[in-house]
Amino acid sequence: MSLITKFLSTLLHRREAGIAVMIVLLALVVGAIQPRFLTLETLRIIALAIPLILIAAMGQMMVLVARHVDLSIGSILAFSSIIAGIMFRDLPDVPIIISIVAAIACGGALGFANGVIVTLFRLPSIIVTLGTLSLYRGLVFLVSGARQVDPQYIPRSLIEMSQTSPIFGIPWIVILAFVIALLTYFFLDHVRLGRQIYALGSNPVAAPLRGIKVVPLTILVFTMSGALAGLTGIIYASRFGYVNPGITGVGFEFTVIAAVVIGGVSINGGVGTVLGTVLGVILLGMVNVALPLLGVSAFWQDVIYGAVIVIALLIDKSVRDRSARALAAARSAA
């Protein structure tokens, strides 16, 4: 086997390569129909569409790798966002960074609560977070008195995070998102604790036998997901310039889950890479930007998300089946 064919076959067997190919194809197809799609300006728009999904996707990815799921991130996002907004409005003397940290901490706390309920009572995370999805949204209305935080209260410097750039015209929030992705990569691939998350998702029964502290680890994963959703809430305030308790983050969980499963993260736990997730987010971001450019109704967005989740599940399943079959065949052939 020559070096080149070996390289190609590794490429084809990597899920990431498949997504990368799809990204290129999508760009070419959309570009062929609407040449404006292939401009730097589009790149900027796509780049701006990414951070919101990407940061939350990092959290959701860790949750999925640990063989759980977090449906409450949309509400957590809204909660952190509204907390930051209220602090900006009512405590103008407090430094912005403190408000931001407080908001992220609130997200972490809600995630922590998810983790505690899931582990303490051994409940399926999907049902627990379906409950907290509603519960946390109620809290958002409660703390905000059902009142929006208007644009005039959002600090200029925060809004400029989405508009100004330190380098190459890449906005701050985009850089922040990729820094978070890089940190997540480092954590999951190079820190022992991160590897334990994979172990937990890969074989939850064996994990405690190997001394992995399942309860604290699970809680940690949910807490990180919550905190990252909280950070997403700050980005949300930065990007849209106001915080509304009723519409902020509604339905966001589906977008993020769709992005993560496109990225090859398995809902069966133990499998998934940061690179894949990043590519999944980029692909979804491109689709979102391409739809209006092509003049397709935004109504199609949900259809695409739903179809993407179902198709990703089927691909995941067929990959698993195929590798199981190949293994069986290899054993019987020998």
């Binding site: 569409a49 849209f240 935004a298």
Partner: protein, 333 residues
């Protein structure tokens, strides 16, 4: 503690309903906005509250979580059961509530549509309080954007949802005036896009507009979510000088953009006055001082003489209010 039997409960509620009909008790008004957490309705509620202080009526607000078509129905039924005198509602659907509203009216409750009407279902409410004559909104917006771009060049519309009835009325009127009024002959409506009143979708659509139409001169966004998203996009792209934006937006929502020059002016009406008018009208009808008939007139402090128009519709103001850098700080809603 279990002191009320069902029977007692029924007789009690009957007693309360009939009791309320006697004019001695203060008129009780409940207002059901589209959803909770919508800043627009906060201001409208304030109008109700201030009027009720003046008129000595009892006012409460009950809001569903979402603006979904059915979400207001349990609230209407519950308020009917509570035996309120007046239900004022900003309907989430022009037709899904017909039957519950009829039920309320059959119990002697005055049903008012506020800020939006039950289009083509007028017989299911007693009257409607709308801010302005909606036929004037479209032309008003075209004129405003025209004045900003020198009545020349490409313009686009960023609307709410494809089937939003009010917005569609306005857009139709815009298209009509662009066609018929020679003043606008050099203005060209190149696209109408929809952001679904969601910040994210509205932002993406606004970005796509700038991207697809590089020669675009003006954007009209006749919806508060859309105009805020478009302003944010224009500010981000630094295109305030090239693309002029206007639309319908609340002063609080648009204040930073107007102050920093991203947007010269937006228009709206006073939701506060809607609440005020609704309360005055409701109390007047209940006390017998106002006749709910087409053509009848009555006085409301600060609003002047109000005339009940066709389909029992009344407006709080004749023209849209324009908010710009000079006057925006006079408003807080």
């Amino acid at each position: 503690m279990f002191k009320k039997s069902l029977l007692l409960g029924i007789s009690l509620s009957v007693a309360l309903i009939s009791g309320a009909a006697l004019a001695q008790d203060p008129v009780s008004i409940v207002y059901i906005p589209k959803n909770t957490g919508n800043p627009y309705f906060d201001s409208l509620v304030a109008g109700f509250e201030d009027a009720c202080k003046e008129l000595n009526c009892e006012f409460t607000m009950a809001a569903p979580a979402t603006a979904e078509a059915t979400s207001q129905i349990p609230f209407i039924t519950a308020q009917t059961q509570r035996g309120v005198d007046v239900i004022a509602i900003s309907p989430n659907s022009p037709d899904a509530m017909n039957q519950v509203l009829d039920r309320a009216r059959s119990r002697g409750i005055l049903v008012l549509a506020v800020n939006g009407d039950l289009v083509d279902n007028y017989e299911h409410r007693d009257a409607a309080i709308l801010p302005v004559d909606f036929t004037k909104t479209g032309p008003g917006q075209v004129e405003l954007v025209g004045s900003m771009i020198g009545y020349k060049g490409e313009i686009a519309v960023l609307s709410a949802t494809t089937d939003a009835p009010d917005q569609n009325t306005w857009i139709a009127a815009m298209v009509d005036s662009l066609k018929t009024n020679p003043k606008y002959k050099d203005m060209n409506l190149v696209a109408t896009v929809y952001g679904d009143d969601e910040p994210q979708k509205s932002t993406t659509e606004a970005e796509a507009l700038l991207q697809t139409y590089p020669d675009l001169k003006g954007i009209i966004s006749p919806t508060t979510v859309g105009v805020a998203a478009a302003a944010q996009v224009i500010q981000s792209a630094g295109k305030a000088d090239e693309v002029k934006l206007t639309g319908l937006g609340t002063p609080n929502q648009m204040r930073p953009f107007i102050k920093d020059g991203t947007v010269e002016a937006v228009q709206l009406w006073s939701p506060y006055n809607e609440g005020l008018l609704a309360a005055y009208f409701a109390v007047g009808v209940k006390n017998g001082t106002i006749k709910n008939e087409v053509g009848a007139t009555f006085e409301v402090p600060e609003l002047g003489t109000i005339t009940i128009g066709e389909h029992n519709v009344m407006n709080t103001q004749a023209e849209l209010t324009t908010f710009n850098a000079d006057n925006i700080d006079d408003f807080d809603f």
